[in-house]
Amino acid sequence: METIMILLIGVLISVATYFVLSRNVTRIILGTALLSHAVHLLILTIGEVKKGEAPLLGNQTADGPYTDALPQALILTAIVISFAVTAFVLVLAFRTYKTNGTDDMEQLRGDEHE
């Protein structure tokens, strides 16, 4: 399972990287969103998947081994933060387009002397 997951993550990261390297602002933002999906999955996968019960004490099989709760807590934080960042960057792109009339990163380079 882990190997398959890691291969999937590899695909996601490749696609995300390709998007981040492109010229269009929206593509770059989508790239970052993809990247955060990939990283969330990566953290969870590395922390031993399916080796125990959900980390809820006193549930179902009582004292069975639990899955590692620490990566989950990390990811929970990361999900919310990446949402906020995506929103922020989207609005930044919005304002950039409005001010400069272009969403092409190469055209946003500006002049030699600024």
Partner: protein, 799 residues
């Protein structure tokens, strides 16, 4: 506790002034500010009897106890002496500034910086902890920078401010390094504890390095040769600032450090050599250069440099006492340090008065150039009186305090030649010679101040401009200082008993009891060598002053291009050119390039490490079981991801991104993470809405217009990054070296009273992270709000 108040009070008031100045007229800010130094001064004066009886007062506020950093104030003789100068001169300077500065100036800025400086300076002299001391030390540099650049519309002001900042902060960082070395040696940041260990650490090799680093800090701050170049240019500051920071207090911070560190470093002979000779060179070079100046303030600046050198060299000479075994003899040599402390006070009084005098002339006549001034005596008699008393005291004539300390300085210099225990008398023999020559030049520039400005022909300037005596308010402060100049001459031993003797005890804590450390000061010593030297100074000084025009040409012998100042300026310009050239090589302003740097760097470093160490391992043995629906889901997600690369419409791309997001949340379910699954589900929905909302404004995707070359590069890099991540992740899973720490969190119910472990981590175990995350979230939300609401009102030019 009182001492903390003395430090914090000016800083607090500085914080209030920006708000206060809206409510009171500018004229009154100065009077309000005046309360700070007066209060602090009175607070301190109350302690004088305690300190004079040899007590010390410490009080600690914990700051970062786990790092050994405490805000401990330590009031002893030395810090008492400096703090009295800071608050006393501070009071007079603020009072003077009230009349000196026009109410049209940005007074709230000025007083805010001045109070900031005052608090920082008090912090420097009271801190027992080296790190706290360093923090305050840098704060004095910053406030000095702000004050020098107070008239920031002037190019010279900005220039001078930058130069002083660069030099003093460089020294400050060196000093921090020295402090850290001391910490390594002694395992404490407390100065008192380090002093207790001083004799045991002096043989360590790091000791010398610490000594050099700390001296670098002290020398840059106290404008010692060759770092003195910033001080003359700092004279672009308003005159009250020059009087306060650049003659009476801040430049003496370096001297304070030398005095404070003497009980630590004097155990090593190099301390004696470096401090003494750097001081002597500075003494000579400053006085020699002061003579050629035509700007009165520049002249005073060089004279300050030279006087600081003198005090510095005296501390150096005094430190020899740590190497003399016979206590009675050691006390005689230690007297040099006493003279240093004595002259420190004297210098503050007469130099403060002289600066204020120059300020008055500048204020009334509109120039400080001695070539344009002359014959002011009859017009400004009060100012003339100040100038005469100040200058003659500086020149070392009776009946002024400068005479006492100058005389004792010569005694100490002569004393150095008789050190036979070190068999170095051939080298130390030059000390009195340098001292004498420098004193002759000092005498000459003192004459220049008096004669060229106040006596002689009335120049045409006086005809053009109606010059009159300064208002009474401006004269009060210098007159108070001048009163001290005379008062100390007649009653020096009051000062000695209450202030200087306890300060001596701080410099030589173990040498002798306090009463024996400080000698009685007498004006008349009989006809001895010192008196003859003084007479020689006067005779030669007058002779050279008369013939100044004939030998002035020797100053032209120094080529302008090779002065330290122009060397420094050129080095600065060159370094800016070179670094901007290098920066432009890689800062292409292309986002893609910046990302490429990051990716390529990661690929090269991590990838080559993998190959070099041959650490890639891979095994499916320990993998969890795979179900068919999971494989299906993986395929769906992989296809969705790859499809995103080829879709033409951005809405399709966002929908595919949504598919991926929901796929991720299903994986969270499979991997037993219910909280994550819920969160991911909702966040994905909201994100999709967000994208679609923003798309109503952003333009539709166009085809990427990049060349094939660029596209292929991007593709290669992307695949490489993906493969690298796969390799790293597989190896991590294979090795699985570390035991998970989450068994600790499985006690969640006992420790945090919750059964949902993830939730207790967020809310209790790692609540600090969550709290900060919430703050970040709020900031992001406000950022979005601001960007949306404050739209480009004038065509977007206010970005």
């Amino acid at each position: 506790m009182t001492i903390h108040i003395a430090i914090i009070l000016p800083l607090l008031m500085a914080a209030f002034i920006p708000f206060l100045h809206h409510y009171i007229t500018r004229k009154w800010i100065g009077w309000f500010v005046l309360a700070a130094p007066i209060t602090a001064f009175i607070l301190l004066v109350r302690f004088i009897p305690h300190i004079a009886s040899g007590e010390t007062i410490t009080y600690t506020i914990n700051w970062m106890p786990s790092l050994g950093i405490q805000f401990t104030t330590y009031l002893d003789g030395l810090s008492m002496l400096f703090s009295l100068l800071i608050t006393g001169v501070g009071t007079l300077v603020v009072f003077y500034a009230i009349f000196y500065l026009s109410t049209k100036e940005a007074l709230h800025h000025f007083y805010c910086y001045l109070l900031l400086f005052m608090g920082a300076m008090l912090g420097v002299v009271f801190s027992d902890n080296l790190i706290v001391l360093y923090a305050f030390w840098e704060l004095t540099s910053v406030s000095s920078f702000l004050l020098i650049a107070f008239w920031h519309h002037r190019r010279a002001s900005r220039h001078g401010a930058r130069k002083s900042m660069l030099i003093t902060v460089t020294g400050g960082i060196a000093m921090l390094a020295g402090f850290l070395m001391l910490y390594v040696l002694t395992d404490t940041f407390s100065i008192r504890e380090i002093i207790a260990q001083a004799s045991t650490i002096s043989t360590e090799p790091l000791f010398i390095a610490a000594l050099l680093c700390i001296l670098l800090g002290a020398f840059t701050k106290s404008a010692q040769f060759p770092f003195h170049i910033w001080l003359p240019q700092a004279m672009e500051a308003p005159t009250p600032v020059s009087a306060y920071l650049h003659s009476a207090t801040m430049v003496k911070a370096g001297i304070y450090i030398v005095a404070r560190m003497t009980p630590i470093f004097a155990y090593h002979m190099s301390w004696f050599w470096i401090v003494t000779f750097v001081g002597l060179i500075t003494l000579f070079w400053g006085s020699f250069n002061a003579v050629k100046q035509t700007d009165l303030k520049a002249l005073l600046a060089f004279s300050t440099v030279s006087q600081l050198g003198m005090i510095m060299s005296l501390f150096g000479m005094g430190s020899i006492a740590y190497h003399i075994d016979v206590p009675t003899e050691a006390i005689i040599y230690a007297e040099a340090s006493f003279v240093a402390l004595f002259h420190l006070v004297n210098h503050s009084t007469f130099k403060g008065a002289l600066f204020m005098m120059v300020g008055i002339i500048d204020h009334e006549a509109g120039t400080r150039d001695v070539r344009k001034l002359g014959g002011l005596m009859t017009i400004m008699p009060a100012t003339f009186t100040i100038a005469v008393i100040g200058s003659l005291s500086m020149a070392g004539l009776p009946p002024f305090n400068g005479f006492l300390s100058k005389e004792m300085f010569l005694t100490s210099a002569l004393e150095m030649t008789s050190i036979d225990t070190l068999s170095l008398s051939t080298v130390t023999a030059v000390i009195p010679i340098i001292a004498w020559v420098a004193s002759v030049f000092t005498f000459i520039y003192c004459m220049i101040i008096i004669f060229k400005t106040f006596l002689g022909q009335k120049t045409e300037l006086l005809a053009v401009r109606k010059i009159h005596e300064a208002p009474i308010g401006m004269l009060i402060s210098p007159f108070v200082l001048v009163a001290f100049v005379i008062g100390i001459f007649f009653f020096p031993n009051v000062l000695v008993k209450y202030v200087l003797a306890p300060a001596m005890l701080s410099v030589f804590p173990t040498l002798a009891p306090m009463e024996e450390l400080a000698p009685k000061v007498y004006a008349w010593h009989g006809f001895n060598t010192e008196l003859l030297m003084t007479i020689g100074i006067i005779v030669f000084g007058l002779l050279l002053y008369m013939t100044l025009s004939t030998w002035r040409r020797i100053y032209d012998a120094f080529p302008q291009k090779l002065t330290l100042n122009s060397l420094f300026d050129r080095a600065l310009v060159e370094s800016v050119t070179v670094s901007s050239f290098i920066t432009k090589l890689y800062m292409t302003r292309s986002f893609r390039h910046y990302m490429l740097y990051i990716y390529v760097f990661v690929i090269v470093v991590v990838g080559s490490f993998f190959i070099w160490q041959d650490t890639f391992r891979f095994s499916v043995a320990n993998n969890a079981t795979v179900h068919i629906y999971e494989v299906l889901l993986v395929f769906v997600m992989a296809i969705a991801a790859i499809a995103m690369l080829f879709v033409k419409s951005r809405v399709t791309a966002v929908v595919l991104n949504g598919v991926l997001g929901f796929g991720v949340s299903i994986f969270f379910v499979i991997f037993r993470a219910p909280d994550l699954a819920l969160t991911q589900l909702i966040v994905e929905s909201v994100t999709t809405v967000l994208f679609l909302l923003c798309f109503t404004y952003l333009p539709e995707w166009k085809r990427e217009r990049s060349t094939v070359h660029v596209k292929v590069t991007n593709a290669i890099i992307s695949v490489a990054v993906g493969m690298l991540v796969v390799a790293v992740a597989l190896s991590v899973i294979y090795f699985n070296e570390f035991k998970t720490i989450s068994s600790y969190f499985e006690n969640a119910y006992e420790l945090a009273g919750g059964k949902n472990i993830v939730n207790t981590i967020l809310g209790d175990f790692r609540a600090f992270d969550t709290m900060l995350e919430v703050v970040v979230l709020c900031i992001a939300g406000l950022g979005v709000y601001t960007m949306m609401k404050f739209k480009a009102k004038k065509g977007g030019d206010h970005e």
